[in-house]
Symmetry: C2
Subunit: 181 residues, 2 copies
C-alpha cells in the first residue's frame, strides 16, 4: 500500500523546518512545496489540507521526542536520566536554528479548537509520562509537574533570551527539586 513515499517525507521535512522556524500561519503552502521540491498536487495527494500537514509535522516531532525520552530512560538512575535529558536540550539550544519547543510554539498559534492540537495534548502526556518514569513517580505528582515547569521554562527562556545557559539553569532547578522531594 504505502511502500515508501519520498514526496510525502520531503514535505514533512520541509514543513518541519519552516513551520518550526517561521511559525505555522506565517508559512504558506507555496513556500513549503518549493522547499520540498515538490509539486502542489503532490501535497494534496498526500494530505487533505494544510491543517493535515501541520498535524503530520507535529506527529513527526512527537515521534522524535518519544525516541529521545526512550534514550534518556536507558540511564540507570533518576539524576542521570534527568541530566541526560537536559544535556540533550542544551545541545539543541545551541543550534542556530533553535526556536524553542515546537509544541509550545504550535500551541501559541493553533488555539484549543484546532484539530492538530490533540497532538499537543499527546506531547504533554508523553512528557509527563517520561518525567514520571525518570524519577519513579506518578505522572500527576507535584514533583513531575515541577519538572514540566523546568522543561517549559528551559526551552522558552533559551529561545527569547538567545542564551543556552537558561537550559543549564533549568537543569539545576530540576535536579534540585528532585533531590529535595
Amino acid at each position: 500500500m504505502s511502500p515508501a513515499r519520498p514526496a510525502r517525507d520531503r514535505l514533512v521535512a520541509a514543513a518541519a523546518d519552516l513551520f518550526y522556524r517561521q511559525g505555522i500561519h506565517a508559512t504558506g503552502i507555496d513556500e513549503v512545496i518549493a522547499r520540498a521540491g515538490v509539486a502542489k498536487a503532490s501535497l494534496y495527494n498526500n494530505f487533505a489540507s494544510k491543517d493535515e500537514l501541520v498535524a503530520a509535522y507535529l506527529r513527526d516531532a512527537l515521534e522524535r521526542s518519544r525516541r529521545l525520552f526512550a534514550e534518556c530512560l536507558t540511564e540507570p538512575d533518576p539524576p542521570s536520566r534527568l541530566r541526560s535529558f537536559f544535556d540533550r536540550l542544551a545541545a539543541g539550544a545551541t543550534r542556530d536554528d533553535f526556536a524553542g519547543c515546537p509544541f509550545a510554539n504550535a500551541a501559541a498559534e493553533l488555539g484549543p479548537r484546532d484539530p492538530a492540537s490533540s497532538v499537543l495534548v499527546d506531547f504533554d502526556r508523553a512528557l509527563a509520562d517520561f518525567f514520571a518514569r525518570a524519577i519513579d513517580d506518578a505522572p500527576d505528582s507535584p514533583a513531575v509537574r515541577r519538572l514540566v515547569v523546568c522543561y517549559v521554562g528551559a526551552l522558552h527562556g533559551a529561545k527569547v533570551r538567545h542564551d543556552p545557559r537558561v537550559v543549564a539553569d533549568a537543569a539545576d532547578l530540576a535536579l534540585a527539586t528532585w533531590s529535595r522531594a
Copy 2:
C-alpha cells in the same frame, strides 16, 4: 496635541483581547475594528499598519506588567514579594480568558525580525529586573534566571494543561530555589 483619543484606546483594547485569545496572525483587521466599534480609517489614522497596532498592544501589556511588578515590590521581604507575584499569576490563570503569557505567545508568532519583537525583549528585561529587585540580586544571576524559568513554566504549563495548579507548583519551585540560594 493628543488630549484623549477614545478610538485609539478602544482599538488597543480590542486588539489586546483578540490578539491575546486568538493569536495575532489568526485575527484580522476587520475583526478588530468590529470589536472596537470603529471605522477602518480610524485604525489607519492612529496606526501606520497592523504591525504598529500589534506593537501598541504589546507595549500596553508591558505597561500593565510593570505596574504589577511595582505592586509586588511594595512587599517587605523577598519571599512575600515572590509569593505576591505568583499569587497574582495564579489568580489570572483561573480566568476563563486566560491564554498564557501574551509575550510568550507573541514570541511564538512574530519571529526575531519583527519590529514589534523589541517589546518582547523589553519585557524580558523588565521581568529579570523585577526578580532581581525582589530577591536583591543581580539581573543576570543564576538565581534570577531560575526564577524566570519558573515564571515561563508556570504560565505556559497552566495554559496547555488548563490547570492553574501548575502556577502553584512553579511558585513552590521559585520559593524553594530562592531559599536555597
